[in-house]
């Protein structure tokens, strides 16, 4: 396993109290594998990624438990200096908003080149040549001319390509992409996702794709981890989950999206709202919104049960996963 996150806990201390953002998340990614982490806002999907990358704001954030084992060693006890060497060179992140992630007063060539001058000790000239090569790689037309331009001179799709180029620069083993195409239009989104998938295959990288879009997940992922209130509620290979979800939350999500290929009647709507992280319901966090909830759900927190009926490696954090699977 390239990356193995084990029982991760993250809290945020705020004026109003303690928000428990991540409550025992475990997942793994192999090289060449794409894991989609699916969840709504506040589900803890981005915070988990920040903890893995070591870019969590501390304080107010605090990792209160767990391990992040990358290439066999736990990253969490490492000093910031050592972390920085891992970041960029061995694992890299692509953010949703390319415009605010890029420095507006440096040319894209300087920003791409910096990866090589800082991490690899290259000369400025060599780094510039590398930057052009990378821009070609992510298919930015006229790279030689555009390398001198500034972020605002690029369109949204092109800026996201620059972010991808920057993440790829040092050929990391793992890329974490946090909603990489959410801000883009559909036609551009398709271009960028295709590029990302292609490069991932080429370099055999592990990819963690964080998204709320069930369509994008179905398109590219090998495995899915569905998050709710800071926990993984279901984990399965992508085909299994769409065919027969084993958790009522996953089922609700799948039923609540309108489909392009069907003119549906009324949509299924999950009732209520996602929980307040300062006050997560006892038992199963999803029980107040769950159509299947019974007494045990209000008191006993379900572990991630192994879905034994499946031939593949599946897990569901629902006491009644069997019913859900067949319902």
């Amino acid at each position: 396993m390239l990356l193995d996150v084990h029982d991760l806990h993250v809290e945020f201390h705020t004026r109003d109290g303690v928000a428990r953002a991540v409550n025992g998340v475990s997942y793994g990614v192999d090289e060449g594998e794409t894991l989609a982490v699916l969840g709504e806002s506040g589900s803890g999907k981005s915070v988990t990624a920040q903890a893995i990358m070591g870019i969590l704001d501390v304080p107010p954030g605090r990792i209160t438990g767990g391990e992040v084992i990358f290439k066999g060693r736990d990253l969490l006890p490492l000093k910031e200096e050592q972390r920085r060497k891992v970041r960029g060179a061995e694992m890299a992140m692509i953010f949703q908003d390319a415009l605010s992630s890029l420095n507006p007063v440096l040319s894209v060539g300087d920003q791409l080149g910096e990866m090589f001058t800082v991490h690899r000790g290259m000369s400025k000239k060599d780094a510039r040549a590398k930057a052009v090569e990378l821009m070609d790689r992510v298919r930015i037309p006229a790279a030689r001319e555009r390398v001198r331009q500034y972020p605002h001179q690029f369109s949204g799709g092109m800026r996201q390509r620059i972010m991808i180029a920057m993440a790829l620069a040092l050929e990391p083993a793992l890329i974490i992409a946090d909603e990489p195409t959410t801000a883009l239009d559909v036609t551009v989104q398709a271009q960028v996702m295709e590029l990302l998938a292609e490069l991932q295959r080429e370099y055999r990288m592990g990819l963690i794709l964080i998204t709320h879009d069930l369509g994008v997940v179905a398109d590219v992922a090998d495995r899915i981890a569905v998050m709710y209130a800071g926990r993984i509620v279901e984990s399965a290979p992508v085909h299994d989950i769409y065919k027969a979800p084993a958790h009522p939350y996953t089922r609700g999500l799948l039923d609540s999206i309108p489909r392009l290929d069907q003119k549906g009647r009324e949509l299924y709507a999950i009732k209520g709202l996602p929980p307040n992280l300062m006050d997560i319901p006892p038992g199963c966090a999803f029980h107040p919104r769950c159509p299947m909830a019974r007494d045990v759900c209000r008191t006993d927190e379900p572990p991630l049960y192994e879905v034994t009926e499946s031939e593949t490696d599946r897990g569901s954090a629902c006491h009644f996963w069997r019913e859900c699977l067949h319902g």
């Binding site: 709504e40 806002s41 369109s155 799709g157 092109m158 239009d185 559909v186 036609t187 551009v188 989104q189 398709a190 271009q191 996702m193 295709e194 709320h212 879009d213 069930l214 369509g215 994008v216 997940v217 179905a218 398109d219 992922a221 992508v238 085909h239 769409y242 065919k243 609700g252 999500l253 799948l254 609540s256 999206i257 309108p258 489909r259 392009l260 290929d261 003119k263 549906g264 009324e266 949509l267 299924y268 709507a269 999950i270 009732k271 709202l273 996602p274």
Partner: protein, 372 residues
């Protein structure tokens, strides 16, 4: 207003762009009278680009909307889809008089309302209301929910007498699925989905006949989106509303619309019923757009043809000659650079009829199935 509008006011180019046949694909949903409630023709909005501080010189213009025609029937929902910058939101703003059109006509029940002002405008506005995209910035944080929803009554006191307003506001809260006792709370005490319900309640307050909704659910989480879509669906029947539903999400638009118009760079390039557009698209842009939408079904991954467009949308300050989509179109030929394709039923489909025979602005229109 069923008269053909061939050769009426056109875009600033004027010229031979007048539409000869079937104007807006307005067949279905026209209601028994067959008269549209809202009708738009040759709608144009150009924003001037200027240079200089003391001596201002116009050096060009942003052609946000560049000749849009459509009609909306009573109780009908027209979806307008397109990517960012295609002008769909500007159309919405012009419909509710938040922007003044540069050219073109907007008719409400046959009456030209484009240049109304004062009392006459106020009377019409009552009937055309808007729901905005962002539930966080479209509600005044210093006003209580009761004041927000009741504000339309201050402007149109004839709708509800003073003593009756509080009850009306509470009724409206109930209609959109919020607790009527929340009337004294402030917007920050509500979640995004609840705020959008408040925005909808405000839009409904004056009992309008038309609601223009600009990306009403795009800021919401998936599980909450479905709640709000279902609410709008229900209200539409309950209040017999006509909807102009503007969104970039093609799946949501299909779900809610009777007819759909696809916009590109300030113009509608294809318009028809939801089946015509989604199952029988004939314009290459519509086909590319539909094929790019991820479908939540991993089994469809393998056997689905993707049309990946190259390049970006051209700048609206510098629109390509002829067909505005030609710079990204894989079918473009010499004719596309010279001649503007009209939004009409393409000749190839005119005789045969069938679902492919709907308005499509392409010289080389061809049916192609792209949705699995």
């Amino acid at each position: 207003m069923a008269e053909p509008r061939g050769g009426t006011e056109r875009g600033p180019q004027g010229g031979p762009e007048g539409k000869p046949t079937s104007a807006t694909g307005f067949e279905k949903g026209a209601g028994p009278a067959g008269e549209p409630i809202l009708e738009v023709s040759g709608l144009v909005k150009h924003y001037p680009l200027t240079r200089g501080i003391l001596i201002r010189k116009q050096i060009g213009s942003v052609k946000a909307v560049d000749g849009v025609d459509f009609a909306l029937g009573r109780g009908e929902t027209l979806g307008i889809v397109g990517e960012s910058g295609c002008g769909k939101s500007t159309v919405a703003k012009m419909l509710v008089h938040l922007e003044k059109p540069t050219a073109g006509v907007i008719r409400y029940k046959g009456q030209d309302i484009t240049r109304l002002s004062g009392k006459a405008l106020k009377a019409v506005r009552r009937n055309i209301q808007m729901v905005f995209q962002d539930p966080y910035t479209s509600l005044n944080p210093r006003m209580t929910v009761g004041d927000i929803i009741g504000e339309p009554f201050e402007i149109h006191p004839e709708v509800a007498p003073k003593g009756d307003r509080r009850r009306r506001v509470q009724d409206l809260l109930d209609v959109v699925g919020l607790n009527p006792e929340y009337v004294n709370r402030y917007p920050h005490q509500f979640s995004g989905g609840q705020r959008q319900r408040i925005g909808i309640a405000r839009g409904l307050a004056l009992r309008p006949e038309v609601i223009v909704a600009d990306e009403p659910v795009s800021a919401l989480d998936v599980s909450v989106q479905a709640q709000v879509i279902n609410l709008m669906d229900r209200l539409r029947t309950e209040f017999d509303l006509a909807f102009v539903f503007i969104a970039h999400d093609l799946s949501i638009v299909r779900h809610i619309s009777d007819r759909v118009g696809v916009m590109y760079l300030g113009r509608i390039v294809e318009i028809g019923t939801d089946t015509q557009i989604y199952d029988h698209p004939t314009h290459p842009y519509t086909q590319a757009l539909l094929s790019a939408v991820p479908v939540p079904d991993p089994a469809a991954r393998a056997n689905r043809e993707r049309i990946i467009l190259t390049g970006d949308v051209p700048s609206p300050t510098n629109i390509p000659s002829g067909c505005r989509f030609r710079t990204r179109c894989w079918k473009a030929r010499a004719r596309c650079a010279e001649e503007v394709p009209l939004l009409a039923v393409p000749e190839v489909f005119r005789e045969a009829g069938g679902p492919a025979a709907h308005d499509s602005a392409c010289h080389f229109a061809e049916e192609k199935q792209v949705v699995p």
